[in-house]
Symmetry: C2
């Protein structure tokens, strides 16, 4: 699966069966896009990881060495391809006793692995539909990229043929985002994206888009105001003119069809892509 893996800094591909990430999904992860041998938006990934560790009371502190390992793997090998993905898992560590409650003395384990950049046309608009799998809500976990991902696994298992990504609703019936992406929607009132205070993952690319839309001195002038972050209901979908999903691999990826209805507009996505390219 991976070309290279470091476990607590040492090459390897095995971990203890006592790892709490394995036993309970007790940990966090990051998926980092790497271009020309360097990780992109690394400070943002580390910032989200830090927030997750605080919220889970997971006493990981080795951010500097982790950043070095990510950078090393991103540029590893003389024949490093132009793009790759580096994945980080931070587990609370090997359990010191059986049971959900950690002792507090566990030593967190970091797993850093390099993966090939997925094949496929990176600009083709996506076919997106609504998933029948909903997301349970828990404000304590909302926004975090934690390792409890069975709902996303089930959503992928239920993804219909020909559909690239599925939008998931919360158990309250609100649209939250894609199974592996965040979603932005535009209707006649402008651009908006779901609140993630009850469930969902606050993606790094989502944060970049929100920041770009709020910039006071945009490199390219924005014709629209800040993206509104709000509750989004499925009943709003018929009024949507344009939609895109975001993650660090896809960037800003236009939705060509949403629940079977073609979306022709790409205006917001194009403008945001131009602005973010210019800002780098």
């Amino acid at each position: 699966m991976s070309a290279a893996t470091l476990i607590d800094g040492r090459p390897g591909d095995q971990v203890s069966v006592a790892e709490r990430a394995l036993q309970y999904g007790d940990g966090l992860f990051e998926t980092i896009s790497c271009v020309d041998g360097a990780p992109r938006w690394l400070p943002r990934h580390l910032q989200r990881l830090r927030l997750g560790c605080e919220r889970l009371q997971l006493p990981f502190t080795d951010y500097e060495v982790l950043a070095q390992e990510i950078t090393a793997l991103a540029g590893a090998g003389s024949a490093a391809p132009a793009r790759c993905v580096v994945k980080v898992i931070v587990s609370r560590g090997a359990a010191l006793r059986r049971g959900y409650g950690p002792t507090g003395a566990e030593r967190p384990t970091r797993i850093v692995s390099r993966h090939e950049w997925p094949a496929g046309d990176p600009t083709a608009p996506l076919h997106v539909s609504l998933s029948s799998v909903r997301l349970g809500t828990n404000p304590l976990l909302a926004g975090l990229k934690h390792l409890n991902r069975l709902e996303q696994v089930l959503a992928q298992l239920a993804r219909p043929p020909g559909i690239d990504e599925v939008l998931m609703l919360s158990s309250r019936g609100e649209i939250i985002g894609g199974s592996m992406s965040n979603v932005f929607l535009a209707d006649q009132t402008g651009l908006f994206t779901p609140r993630l205070d009850a469930c969902g993952v606050a993606g790094v690319m989502r944060g970049l888009v929100l920041q770009a839309s709020r910039a006071r001195r945009p490199v390219a002038p924005l014709r629209f105001g800040a993206v509104r972050v709000r509750r989004v209901m499925p009943s709003e979908l018929p009024g949507v003119r344009e939609a895109f999903v975001t993650n660090v691999r896809w960037g800003i990826r236009s939705i060509g069809s949403l629940d079977g209805r073609a979306l022709a507009s790409d205006d917001y996505a194009q403008q945001l892509r131009r602005q973010m390219d210019a800002a780098q």
Copy 2:
């Protein structure tokens, strides 16, 4: 942490970092009580595991060899103690690609480990309080003993000193059960236990208690009707006269204090214990 572990039948204590149980919590587990070298209620554990595999579309089929491994570990060693715990994890297997969606060709991994029986007085009534950590709801996962357990980890982290177990509410505000147990409550109308159709784990001991209460020809005559399985709200707690929690390690364990209020009655628990002992 464990005295002995079998991974796909071979002694070992390491698994691949590609295991989907580690990457996404994509798997199930069972915790089996073993007495005098033999696992108790093994068919029920395997039945719940089978249900979980079906619901998660996890193509595990090696139930017979798994049963043999559990039995072997339960009785392993000439100096095997009278009681031990055998834990089973079934992971969907090592990922064949990155991403939430399995290919369908993964080979499930089984991890069977023997653990010491926890110390402590097994009959002392427990001090129980309500947790501030709630359970997200998802009917697709409700009842299963799956590996996405961060909510239980957070509940244990927030467990106050002197409290043995915490009762968790769903995000809808209903009482679901303990962080590592099911709960039964009695008021003037009789004995009842929460429905688990939205979240929670349907414990093996809970199933045994429900079966005992429904027995048409009980070994010892029951003075009460079948336990009612229904929605339970925290507002009902002041009317509760007796309460107990169940899991295969605790059996039927009385609650001595519930959210600071002493509960003196032990009638239902004693009668159920007698009946279940006599039925064996």
